[in-house]
Amino acid sequence: MAEKILEVKNLVISFKTDHGILHAVRDVSFDLEKGETLCIVGESGSGKSVTNKAIMGILASNAIVEGGQIIYRGEDLLQVAEEEFHKIRGHRIGMIFQDPLSSLNPIMRIGKQITEATLVNGDKLKRMFEDIISDDLIAYKNAVARGELKAEKVIQAAEAANIDALNKNSAENADKKGVKAECKARLKAAKKEAAEIRKVTKAETEPLRLKLEETKKAAKVKVAEYKAKVLADYKKEVASANGDKEAIAAAKKKKTDNLRITKMEAKRRALEIMKEVGIPEPEKRFRQYPFEFSGGMRQRIVIAIALTETPEILICDEPTTALDVTIQGQILELIKRLKKDRDMSVIFITHDLGVVANMADRVAVMYAGKIVEYGTSRDIFFEPKHPYTWALLASIPDVDSKERLDAIPGTPPNMIYPPKGDAFAPRSKYAMEVDFLEEPPFFKVSDTHYAATWLLHPDAPQVEMPKIVSERIKNNLAEQGEKGGSENE
């Protein structure tokens, strides 16, 4: 099995809104394998963007991460302290959005926007220092954060218990004073316990802190040594240049290159990347503003910016939805090529099944904040099991047929009051009684394929997928057969 590069486990995210708590992501788990493209598909509002913003650490301020883990390189991104998070995602996880204009600064030249990130991280001494200490720093900060989280959980649990008790009490109208005293005591005990936990944490993390201090000292020495060597080399070269102006200039350039990334160097790299993403005349384009570019070109620039940090995971959030088909095709090709050349893994969000077919190795179908089915591209397109996947497949017009579309009735649910049981049941003609009562677990279809629908329960009645879907699958497989046949001739 391929290496898992990213794991999302039981992610739960809500938003505080004026109308109440909105449950945007409700227990989402998936993993991303090295080198694969995972497509997340589903209608708008199903939680695709929120899930991926959580991975990027760019959730809106009213978001509450209620639970779950996002494991990347052995660390839980939801628990590492903010600065580490930025470091990781900035360098190793890149994201591009649907609307390229909103992620570009309209009054800044393209060139500056592309070189900005390179220059910000351009101090080589600082970077060297950070690289040396980063493992120890992350280990220490995470240990502290984990302890703090444990302490907070204890208090939160007590508070929740108190609220429950008070509610119950007011309902039963029983002994008020007693309950209040009980609550107070409970909170006090919790606080005491939390303090204890904090103490323990501090003691436990002390060796880590000391180790970090050590590493910092060592790092400082190392960086100073490096700097001294660069300067010494420079002096030596100047001396041996014997006043040769060119040699002195070369030595000077070498010195600066060794210490930091210069503007010129950043520009050279930017131009290279612009060429790589297919922007013609990069020299000229470098000096232009975003409005001077077409939609497709803007998206290429956004991709270029994401690439300056050489990410290992690229998250694409509907990058082609606003584009024309021909331009969309070009951008899809570009992303595929870059993925291959740079050995990246890609999470690709879309609501267009045609795009999914083109891009995906694996597919996760989302509905109402949950993944309802996931599997390989083949699993989802040729053996779909969840009624929502069927509905999606049936509702798109097909170039090859004119039969009436199976429209999905009704509207997507209001996520302040997510439906009980199977969220899709109210719109599904396959819904059974149990669908309205109890949430279906994931049933295993094959080693790669899982679906959360009661239809897969051994006791469920046998139902066939809609005819329009099975017909299309038959046609699609036949089309391949024809093609394969003619190729063999």
């Binding site: 209608e43 021909t326 045609g354 999606l392 097909d398 170039v399 004119k402 579309l405 699609n476």
Partner: protein, 451 residues
């Protein structure tokens, strides 16, 4: 526009002035005055002097767009620029059909639709509905006067120079010199007189046409126009946020002169039900609805006018995937139920293929191919159509992964330097924008590949 596209437009544009007979169909038009005032004309209150094409009246052609041009002008007087949003587009829409227009964003689809419902004063060309002209522009005619006059003035100069040269060429000692000079002078004079008369005729006919155009634009029959309704792309922007659904839908009824409040309410409810909403919705405001519901309100607003021709401008692009099929099915049902003719504008070819009988493909303001939807997908001829078709994503991972997309590079595939393109009918019902040479190639291709 990048350079390639500019070249394409420029190369194919240059000499259009001479090529387009702005209303070549005029030849069949009878003198407007002695047409019978039929029942239909009484019903639509059509002015007897309105220009019409009798061959279309009562025929299968519901809408006929001829040489439509819609330019937008910007900039100052000195540095003025024009954008040819729609440039010389012609097509007919038949009763009961669904006519699709596809092309990339910015190619002029919306502008075409808006020009037809007279949201713009069209720059040039004519639009006929039921055979009566509902809209026309006079820029071409004005240019015709201007250029013909300028050319004639140049010609006169040349003639004068010629006269002088010929007189000088006669030897001074020629005994018949006087007579010869007089003869030459007379000859040139006659020619100039003849030319003046010809020019005057051209100017007079064009002036008359301009007068007719202005007249027609002023006297467009309202009843005729109310049969053409448009549904807009963005269901949010196209509804007034301060009006209730009831007001929005009733507005059209009031314009038509229906005043009875009870009756009107009944009609509103009927329309709401037709588009899958209920009476309770009528007192709410647009922002209280989802995107799909707002689009339904837009459809109800159009339908209450009892239209015969419905122009749908990307009615589902702004909607969510799960809602799109609902709206497509709704439009399909309404089409059957109300006998609508539909003009369906979209950039998503698979939707258009699904929905339309015939499809017109536009590229930078020009119509480059027009034929039935089956033909278009089976035998696309224009290279732009081919590239568009090769880019449609299909929900089939087996074929999709190996797809090869074609890229359209106008200045590599066309040579329009001398042989200019125009819309040619390659075989009955299949039109392609091409020059003579390409036309031969297409005909050859069709001979060998089609049936």
């Amino acid at each position: 526009m990048n350079n390639e596209e500019k070249e394409f437009v420029a190369a194919s544009e240059e000499s259009l002035h001479e090529r387009i007979d702005d209303d070549h169909e005029d030849k069949t038009t009878k003198d407007v005055v002695d047409i019978d005032v039929s029942e239909e004309e009484k019903h639509y209150r059509i002015h007897p002097l309105l220009k019409r094409r009798p061959e279309l009246i009562g025929s299968d052609v519901l809408l006929s767009v001829r040489h439509l041009k819609q330019f937008f002008f910007f900039g100052s007087k000195i540095n003025n620029m024009k954008l040819k949003a729609v440039s010389n587009v012609s097509f007919d829409v038949y009763k009961g059909e669904c006519f699709g227009i596809v092309g990339e964003s910015g190619c002029g689809k919306t502008t075409t639709g808006r020009s037809i419902i007279k949201l713009y004063d069209i720059t040039s060309g004519s639009v006929y509905y039921r055979g009566y002209r509902i809209s026309a522009g006079s820029r071409w005619n004005k240019k015709e006067i201007k250029w013909k006059t300028i050319r004639w003035k140049q010609k006169v100069k040349e003639l004068k120079a010629d006269e002088k040269a010929r007189i000088e060429a006669i030897p001074q000692d020629d005994p018949n010199r006087e007579a010869k000079v007089a003869e030459i002078k007379n000859e040139i004079k006659l020619e100039i007189e003849r030319g003046d008369i010809a020019l005057k005729q051209i100017v007079d006919t064009q002036r008359a046409k301009i007068r007719q155009i202005n007249f027609d634009n002023k006297h467009t029959p309202k009843r005729l126009m109310s049969e053409i309704q448009m549904i807009f792309q963005d269901p949010v922007d196209s509804l007034d946020p301060r009006m209730t659904v009831e007001d929005i839908i009733q507005e059209g009824l009031k314009i038509q002169g229906f005043k009875d409040k009870k009756e009107n309410h009944k009609k509103v409810v009927e329309m709401l039900e037709k588009v899958g909403l209920v009476e309770e919705h009528s007192s709410r405001y647009p922002h209280e609805f989802s995107g799909g519901q707002r689009q339904r309100i837009g459809i109800a607003r159009a339908l209450v006018m009892n239209p015969k021709l419905l122009i749908c401008d990307e009615p589902i692009s702004a909607l969510d995937v799960s809602i799109r099929a609902q709206v497509i099915n709704l439009l399909n049902d309404l089409k059957e139920e109300m006998g609508l003719t539909i003009m369906f504008i979209a950039h998503d070819l698979s939707v258009v293929k699904y929905f339309c009988d015939r499809i017109a493909v536009m590229y930078f303001g020009k119509l480059v191919e027009l034929t039935t939807s089956d033909e278009l997908f089976k035998y696309p001829l224009h290279p732009y159509t081919k590239s568009l078709l090769s880019a449609i994503p299909k929900p089939n991972p087996l074929t999709e992964k190996e797809r090869v997309r074609m890229v359209y590079k106008p200045n590599e595939v066309h040579d329009y330097s001398t042989d200019k393109p125009e819309l040619h009918e390659i075989y009955p019902g299949h039109f392609v924008y091409c020059n003579e040479k390409e036309k031969e190639e297409y005909i050859e291709y069709v001979k060998t590949h089609v049936k």
